[in-house]
Symmetry: C2
């Protein structure tokens, strides 16, 4: 089969991908994002989300990667497009990529008609892409399949967030632009705030894992905003050593979400 | 007092700082590293580790930062050096720094004569600087004050690791170039491996927090090496959801170290 190679920077696909790669907000606007690398391509092949194109670098791509690109295209019914190296590198959201990208839907969950009796994670102003992706991954690993974020947080589907999420995006319901006041319209149950400034001891306080719970986590540095703290029904403190100010938000979320999981598993 | 400004790229200080900023291995070789930013400068002012110089950017520095630089110099007895903007930016390990750096000792703990009956964290091949720093910070927060790393791990004192550690470096004993076989000569007690491929359930297995423990964590992707697994006395698995492959190493360490802390606190 003769392969057509995209060679022109004026090509409409190239222009669209470049926007997504360069502007973290574009994924939401365009409805599509760029998933770079072998691992994400494999997850997409298996989970089959909506895919617009599978993008392969023209040269310096291993046979395995080329075969994977064909598999993803077949599994999702999407076009496989080969792109000249220079153009590929210009639209690739990471340096030294492996030569495969998938243009996949930036899917947001719709707001429920009635609040869901489900566990959730709420992120208040988390702006670092790596942290954001890791938080989605940690939520899924802990069994929490709903993640909501405040208007000031990083976009869930920005390519760097997607990459750090390691595929968790495709198994979690994502709600963006959720104000703290809106949380109780999305989720029924306790709203637990993790706050380094005070609250009850996470480990020593019984009962908080009964029924569905939303864990709220604030940004590195400022922590939870006053609006988020006001929306919480309960305040908890991770008992850290006195000569240490705080935990990284990813570590704090891991501690809270897995303490929820531990309590759930042991109650079974 | 007339201020002398370092203006020449040929200045010995500049040459030394540039090496530290550019090569992550240089901190160990030189015995000094560069701590960038207000937070680290404050920790250094309070903890008073050995400091060689306090480095201030000549212009676009707030009054608070300039005052802090004088405080750090006074508290540690180090020279305060003002550096022309271009040169400062060339040796600063982060982009858009706040204009203050401290050249502080890269201090490693010496090997104990007899194995220590202390909790510890062992890092096997963790290469990402951000992860490495966060792990040191999480260890301190959980009360674990000894961190050892394998020969293939990132350098503890590389400027980016120091920055991600948020000052925890100055409260933790750091041991580098520790092979898995050497762990038991440093620490007396259980050697616990966290492994996604199998092991006993972290939450459901009793007893492992009795007596001192070393938690071993592997690199993102490969996990613990065979050598590290062979050195472990016990193997544990964090019970994550089935459709999620693994946790980020920072999140996994947070779960294991805070489960240790929880058990210790509740046993008191």
């Amino acid at each position: 089969m003769p392969m057509t190679v995209i060679n022109s920077a004026a090509n409409d696909n190239i222009k669209r991908w470049r926007k997504i790669a360069e502007n973290p907000r574009e994924a939401k606007k365009a409805g599509f994002t760029l998933a770079e690398g072998i691992h994400l391509a494999e997850v997409i092949r298996d989970k089959k989300p909506a895919v617009r194109s599978v993008i392969l670098r023209e040269s310096r791509v291993s046979e395995e990667v080329a075969a994977l690109a064909e598999e993803v295209a077949r599994a999702t019914g999407a076009k496989l497009l080969t792109v000249a190296d220079k153009l590929y590198d210009a639209v690739c959201p990471v340096e030294n990529g492996t030569g495969i990208m998938v243009e996949t839907a930036a899917h947001f969950a719709s707001r429920p008609v009635r609040p869901l009796a489900e566990d959730a994670l709420y992120l208040d102003g988390v702006q670092d892409a790596g942290n954001m992706g890791t938080l989605i991954r940690t939520a899924l690993a802990s069994g929490v399949r709903h993640v909501a974020a405040s208007p000031g947080s990083a976009g869930f589907w920005a390519p760097k967030v997607l990459r750090a999420g390691m595929g968790a995006h495709f198994s979690v319901q994502l709600y963006d632009n959720v104000t703290p006041e809106e949380i109780h319209t999305l989720f029924a149950g306790r709203i637990l705030a993790a706050d380094a400034r005070g609250g009850r001891d996470l480990f020593r306080t019984p009962g908080w894992a009964q029924g569905p719970a939303v864990w709220m986590m604030g940004a590195e540095g400022p922590g939870l905003s006053m609006r988020a703290l006001s929306a919480a029904t309960e305040l908890y403190l991770i008992p850290i050593e006195e000569d240490c100010e705080s935990l990284n938000v990813g570590a704090a979320a891991a501690v809270c979400l897995f303490e929820l999981r531990r309590r759930r598993l042991l109650a079974e």
